[in-house]
Symmetry: D2
Subunit: 419 residues, 4 copies
């Protein structure tokens, strides 16, 4: 590992908690060079909803490459892009009655967010974007300005502006009515909040510590936005593609955002791809007004279409995800109950779950103990106090049981270790 330490910047992160060199990967498992298997309950931070090297996608990718199909085509037309669009329309948009246009804003989630913010500002002619406490939207300057984490924000090196933070669902004491503050600000021409262009929200805040917005809160937000002609952007980069059950995480709430961002699992295979969807009438871009080199990553289109094809033509994956979610919840509740002194709470939806501990140290120790036992997990939340579970949606019930059993042991070990 010497070469990493010598050559790779100190900014590297995950490798510090998982100090092995990964080599192979299949389904729910990653394998280190020395052959040890790691059950992956992190799934590329939600980029591997269909597991590693999913066979249904792999062969298509191999055939595509082997056949000298076009790999890089900027944003020219390609057969694989057409196939992706056609499948996305047929499998995702049409069945849900959604009339959106699709922008390929660049390969990463932050490109999708930056494009969404630019478009919202262009449409409305306003600057301010409302974001929420503990929201996470990316590391580029525009996305960072709507991200809550102070360490990441500090990295900007310039003041972050044109944004205002509002309380996420259930942020304060549980007594304050939803949107009391935001509505007051919007109603009051003397409030000091300049009229916003848009609101950007995650339905479940992953990096923020698995904070779950209720459907009622999301509906209230959508209504408030409509009332004040503010655009609603749902950042579904981590929670979309079935992570919470349905394809889009906002489906349960019955809302239709004005703009949606997708990335992470949209390519299905862990390859870079990002989408910005906007309601048809909001597609006010001029040609070339936002561009970039990697907007036509054809291999990602190929595996992306294959994933939609394999998993979203019926509701099996959604139902499985919801069932597996119940299993996770039950186990986590049991873990929390077993260690009352840790003050643990359990929260989540679909297969995005958090075990929030009072002590960040215990959370960290639990993840470290899990790693030693062959289970990959990460902390999240403002203090890194939440053990976060994002297993592949294709995880088997056996794997789930095994992982949760290991987690129980790891929490027990951490609880002892850190009094």
């Amino acid at each position: 590992m010497e070469i990493f330490e010598r050559l790779e910047s100190e900014v590297r992160g995950y490798c510090r908690g998982w100090p092995v060199v990964f080599d192979q990967a299949r389904g729910s498992y990653l394998y280190s060079e020395s052959g040890e298997a790691y059950l992956d309950f992190f799934a590329g931070a939600g980029s591997l909803n269909y597991g590693h090297n999913n066979p249904a996608l792999k062969q298509k990718l191999l055939d595509y490459i082997a056949g000298d199909s076009v790999i890089h085509s900027l944003d020219a037309y390609s057969a694989s892009k057409r196939e992706f669009l056609r499948t996305f329309d047929e499998v995702v948009l049409s069945p849900r009655g959604l009339d959106y246009k699709v922008q390929f804003p660049g390969p990463a989630g932050n490109n999708a967010v930056e494009a969404a913010l630019k478009l919202a500002r262009k449409i409305t002619g306003r600057e301010t974007i409302i974001s929420f406490t503990n929201g996470f939207h990316g590391m580029t300057l525009g996305a960072l300005a709507v991200t809550g984490n102070s360490m990441k924000r500090g990295g900007a090196g310039v003041p972050l502006s044109h944004s205002a933070t509002m309380p996420f669902d259930n942020y304060m004491d549980g007594q304050t009515p939803d949107f009391l503050w935001l509505r007051s600000l919007l109603e009051d021409s003397g409030s000091g909040l300049d009229r916003p262009a848009a609101v950007i929200v995650e339905t479940v805040q992953g990096e923020g510590g698995i904070n779950v917005a209720s459907p009622a809160w999301l509906r209230g937000l959508a209504e408030l936005c409509a009332e004040y002609e503010i655009l609603l952007i749902v950042d579904d980069i981590q929670m979309g593609c079935g992570r919470t059950g349905p394809f889009f995480s906002f489906e349960d709430a019955g809302i239709q955002p004005d703009i949606i961002t997708l990335s992470k699992s949209i390519s299905g295979y862990g390859l870079p791809l990002a989408l910005t969807l906007m309601k048809r009438e909001l597609d006010l871009w001029d040609p070339g007004e936002h561009n970039g080199t990697f907007r036509g990553p054809n291999p990602s289109f190929v595996t992306g279409a294959a994933a939609l094809d394999a998993y979203w033509r019926d509701d099996r994956l959604q139902r499985d995800t919801e069932l597996k979610g119940k299993i996770v919840e039950k186990h986590l509740q049991a873990i929390a109950a077993a260690h009352p002194q840790l003050g643990a709470t359990v929260r989540g939806r679909g297969l995005a779950w958090g075990l929030a501990l009072e002590s960040p140290e215990v959370a960290g120790a639990a993840c470290a103990a899990a790693f030693e036992r062959g289970l990959l997990l990460e902390t999240s939340g403002p203090q890194d106090e939440v053990v976060k579970l994002l297993p592949p949606l294709t995880v088997t019930e056996d794997e789930l049981d095994r992982g949760l059993t290991v987690l129980a042991e790891a929490v027990a070990a951490a609880a002892v270790q850190q009094p």
Copy 2:
């Protein structure tokens, strides 16, 4: 093509000039669905320096995927990342006596730029970044603030700040001494220019219209930066990886930038990958201070290492590029001479060339006429008045001749058409 028009956002661009559906690609050629071959003198805007589906890389990529090697690993350690780092060190850094650390800031060039700007601001505690007229650095908010193009800037929807524009080499009348203005501003505590954190510069401005900085100008800039303790960032995203001859485009000038950005051809195969290099002592990042999902795109590491291995262990590619550049220059001079009424000028270095015409209409018509004749080209420059040539470095001399002959015909046709 109906599905693109119905579903893809109006922001799409290149497809408008090349209204065919690409399907296959090999070497210097792209093929449409209907089987027509297009000689590619655009090379993915410089992302395909080794041509399409280069066989030396392709088999390694296929083997990697077929063998269930890890595809997505965030920024954990992987065997393919180690191999990439090792090769990059052995083939690129060490032989040139460069002691840089490597950051993987995300999959796209804009991520490399955003990381570079953040780091420069962190290191210096200052905000202002100097950029140059007609510079291009990307579409995310931080990168856009140092990009010149007014249409792209307008897309931001917020005022772009913390940057100041300075004249690129030979920008004005050819009489004004280099850096007269910038040096005056830096020397004068009443100038109104806040002391900059960094300068960001391309050695040849690709999007800006193939504007070539002389080695002397680059050295002068480096000296000025050193004198005033301003960091020098060379954005080598488009001009690095051999586009101008040597691996880094600044080698001829004999300078060592503080920070370097690379992307486009660094993966060698058109796959997303980006690097931010910083002098060892400038690696002041905190762990995780800049993060992102697609910082470990292992397939890109595999092809990236293979490309370095195949092309950069000796100086053949560099010499070939320089030789082919002479051929391009000669042809372009001949084209310019053949149409004195077009007021054409020729500029370039290595295999990055521009035929600057007085009329943007003629430039556009020439590219359209070239497309009709099976040659892919694009315009660049503030008015889209420059026909830009970025053939693969692996283009054969025959292909080069063929393409330049087609270009001559296309310019002739455009000249007639647009009086």
Copy 3:
């Protein structure tokens, strides 16, 4: 009046509600050219706490000018400045045990605010200033960024940044605990609120509609600031100099702000003067770091010292103000009770009072009807829905009765007029 309409900018305001030409003024009365007397319950928006042309000040001013004493002395030392400082120390600071240094930041309140914000940012090295809903601090760009009114903010022509708005006391439903939101943001490193340099607050918001902060709320704010090492700036420009009873409006709350701004009535005679006070240890200015031409307006020092001398060597003015405040309150309550259909509420402290009506139209009509009856009043509040009373502190009880009787008639007339 033709010359005003022809030559004075459309930005002019008060003259629209009071379309006469004022000529003379004495005590609580203004007189128009045509000799009509107007009882002045606006007092120069709080700049004339001691009435118009107060004889105790007037003679000193006349003697000063007549004797060829220095009028303009930049920020050089002058005898009148020394006398002002000595008196301010003796009469205001020392008796209250306050150890502040005095900055003369320029002639107007906005200069005092701009200097306060600059100093707070310098001291802390942070950028964000917390301000409150419906706060008003001035029209220059720094002050405007912490002002709530959207029409005024819109006048900036650039996005206003480096500030965040928080709920003033009793802003929402009366149920939400004080500082629940602000404390949550400060405690939570993921909240998205960058750590603030300072809080700027008015104890009673005059322009905002006579919103009164309770002593408990102010103490809570001071404690929160101390806990998080945020500077507390009290903008006492309108509510200081005895407007609420004590010299400083925050005395009742028992707090000591880090920085205090004073202007309006500090010269006593309606002449321009402004002060920024900072705790001794916070005087981290470099010489000349903030400058300006009119920082030594000696006539203002003369009348300012005279006013302190005449009114603040004992507590009579304070007690009178409090007593007169009770009279005002009683009358206003009676007016409110007489017109239940107007939904009027009464609020205020000292001699700053508001009659908040449901309808801005009725509020405007009441002020117009008062003007017709010889009483000067203005509306305030985000919708201009609050009739605002700021009589001179030297108003007699007879004048007070007369004015409040006229107001009662005016409200009655407005209530009939506007159903």
Copy 4:
């Protein structure tokens, strides 16, 4: 002086170079408490063009105050404001064929600048303001962003934005054609300069070191602005009111700015007053969009009208100023010639003159030596290397001779002292 040191903020400046307490003033002289006379060649930084306590103004002011005329009237109509407007129109605007409207933006120059910038941004809908190297426009945040001095800018505590600095006349090597750089930026849509709302310029930069723009340069600037539909703001706060000869300093150049700021000597008596003038068709303010407490300082209107009346009904003052300017120039040239080792250059116009020395230390020592000899002077320029002369326009030739003789001695003493 102990009370100043104990109570006044460290930010105080001029008092440090002139450590006496001023008490009385008449004509060109200030007198200290101990009775020493100081010949004032600084004139309140240009606020006392008609000398101290000018008798033609003084009696009117005394009568006004003695007669209980209204002192403070916000922006209501007052007889004194009408008289001021009528006189300003009759004496200044009409004879010069200028059709401007008058805004009273607050008592200080920075208010005039802030209002000008806000209005320019409102009119154009753009944000960027072009300012010039070594320009000085004030200490409030908007004005500071267009001010060059780095120490003052640093005091902002936030990055200053929405502005861009350009070379003032003759800034660089004297070879570069005027506006080569600015015109290039405006012409080139890829330049990175966002289209400006306005240009703000001083015709002679006072604080910047008495840098004189030629009439041809000013005309060129006006033409460039007209060509690109950019508003031209002339900041005539220091150089207006006859300082350079004519009432407005731009008259010689034959231009008509879109917006003009005036302050300093406009009240004639050293009292606070400021004006923003805008071409009639540019008066797009909404009522009350910019407001403030001290916009109706009636004593300033009284002396202001009296000064216009006394000095501007014929061209005597202008001719005198120009003649006296020649005297100053001749003396300064002689001083420069007498000390070739100081590398002194002489620059100025009207009665604004600078003796620019190579060494800031010598400049400071010369001012100190002058003070010891009873002459008040200040340095200016980015390094404080320029001895700046702004005597009252009403200075007699004898006083002028006396002062310049003292200056010659002081420079000689400084030259010896500081080798």
